[in-house]
């Protein structure tokens, strides 16, 4: 009787191959989305100078999308009392003194110092994306396993991102039609979020990620010579939208 009871208990514990929740899928929506106030139709959009632009290409190669946990924690802070250099924390972001919005996760990593790093807990391969046409992908093959271990997930990352852009612009302060192109390489494009995977987590999860840069990406830049590093920085600041379903 005791042996049977012990075996029953053993069967009820979390054994190898089972997690606290199953990540059923990662859904990725990616597409260039001009803001309502900027969209002129037929692919044309306004930038802040008053010039009109149209993209001839906006393609990306993404290695994988990863859900990450901050290892070496110790950088937790109270959003009601932001650390030096930051103010007005809410909705998962704080305002930096330079006017940027910074994720809580990135601030925690900064406070935790050199010993902290973001570790991939689960990931899925992505591939080629056409952001002009728009993409809606369901990435069903999750590595190393869709069975998630106990973890405090605090960041989503698109990793090994290469982007190719081409455009034409006219009007506003421009003389005639200006064309241009740029190639960007980003180690990662990240967004903070919070998902505690534990015994209280829904047993089956889907994570939805939207990557929808808009016309403001090209504001205050010369269409004849756009700086690739500045474009990459703006893509990072625009970030991603993440939803757990």
């Amino acid at each position: 009787m005791r042996a049977f009871f012990a075996m029953f208990l053993a069967g009820c514990t979390t054994g190898p191959g089972t997690g606290f929740a199953t990540l059923a899928a990662v859904e990725l929506d990616a597409g260039f989305a001009p803001e309502v106030a900027r969209d002129l139709g037929d692919g044309w959009f306004l930038v802040d100078s008053g010039a009109r632009m149209r993209l001839d290409a906006f393609a990306a190669e993404v290695g994988r999308v990863a859900l990450q946990e901050l290892e070496g924690r110790g950088g937790a802070f109270d959003p009601a009392s932001p650390p030096p250099g930051y103010t007005l924390c809410h909705g998962g972001h704080c305002h930096s003194d330079e006017g940027r919005l910074v994720d809580y996760a990135d601030i925690e990593a900064e406070l935790a110092g050199e010993g902290a790093r973001f570790a991939d807990v689960a990931w899925a391969a992505v591939g080629s994306l056409d952001l002009l046409a728009g993409e809606a992908l369901e990435l069903g093959r999750v590595e190393p396993s869709p069975e998630l271990p106990a973890a405090d997930l605090t960041r989503v990352a698109l990793q090994d991102v290469r982007i190719a852009l081409a455009w034409e612009a006219t009007g506003g302060p421009l003389d005639g039609v200006v064309t241009g192109s740029a190639e960007l390489a980003m180690t990662s494009l990240t967004e903070g979020f919070e998902l505690a995977v534990d015994r209280d987590t829904d047993p089956r999860l889907r994570v939805g990620i939207s990557w929808t840069p808009g016309a403001a990406l090209f504001d205050d830049m010369d269409p004849a010579a756009m700086d690739a590093d500045e474009l990459a920085a703006r893509l990072q600041e625009r970030g991603l939208d993440v939803e757990v379903r």
């Binding site: 106030a37 306004l46 802040d48 959003p79 009601a80 007005l88 809410h90 919005l101």
Partner: protein, 168 residues
């Protein structure tokens, strides 16, 4: 007997002192979401910063009519004047329309925008703006739309109030 009276008096005084604190103000983000269906006050934007139309920081929204530049692109300027420092929140339902911020004629640049977390689809952009005394001018456009809805609120109640939490 006297000891009992003192005790009950003390208890009554203690209950009064520990009674409910100041009524909590509505969170500005929530208030902004509630106002989305209201046009509020209508105003015509000025064609340039010098002729900016006056709007106010208050509970009601504004629907701002922009100026057509003759080529189907719309622009305009509105302004507020404040007498003392104020932490404020500016919300708009029209993403991409608010493009500049000026303080007493000086371009100070807009900080980064973020959706209203309480209603991100309805209010895709908001800014936390710390205003010093003076005149603050918003540049609207260039835009493909001819009106912009916005509401400019005092930020009280938006962040956690540590003093209030400690008093509870």
């Amino acid at each position: 007997m006297i000891r009992s009276k003192v005790m009950w008096t003390g208890l009554a005084l203690g209950l009064v002192a520990c009674g409910p604190g100041p009524e909590a103000e509505e969170d500005p983000s929530e208030h902004a979401c509630e106002q989305v269906g209201s046009e509020g006050a209508m105003v015509s934007a000025g064609a340039d910063a010098d002729s900016a139309a006056a709007v106010g920081i208050g509970e009601e929204p504004w629907t701002v009519a922009l100026v057509d530049d003759g080529e189907g692109v719309y622009r305009g300027f509105v302004e507020v004047t404040v007498d003392e420092e104020a932490d404020t929140l500016l919300f708009t339902t029209v993403e991409g329309a608010v493009t500049g911020l000026w303080a007493d004629g000086e371009d100070v640049g807009l900080p980064s925008a973020a959706p209203n977390a309480d209603c991100p689809d309805e209010i895709p952009e908001h800014w936390d703006l710390e205003l010093t005394p003076g005149t603050w001018t918003l540049e609207l456009g260039p835009a493909a739309v001819d009106t912009v809805w916005l509401i400019w609120l005092d930020a009280s109640g938006h962040a956690h109030d540590e003093a209030q939490e400690e008093a509870l």
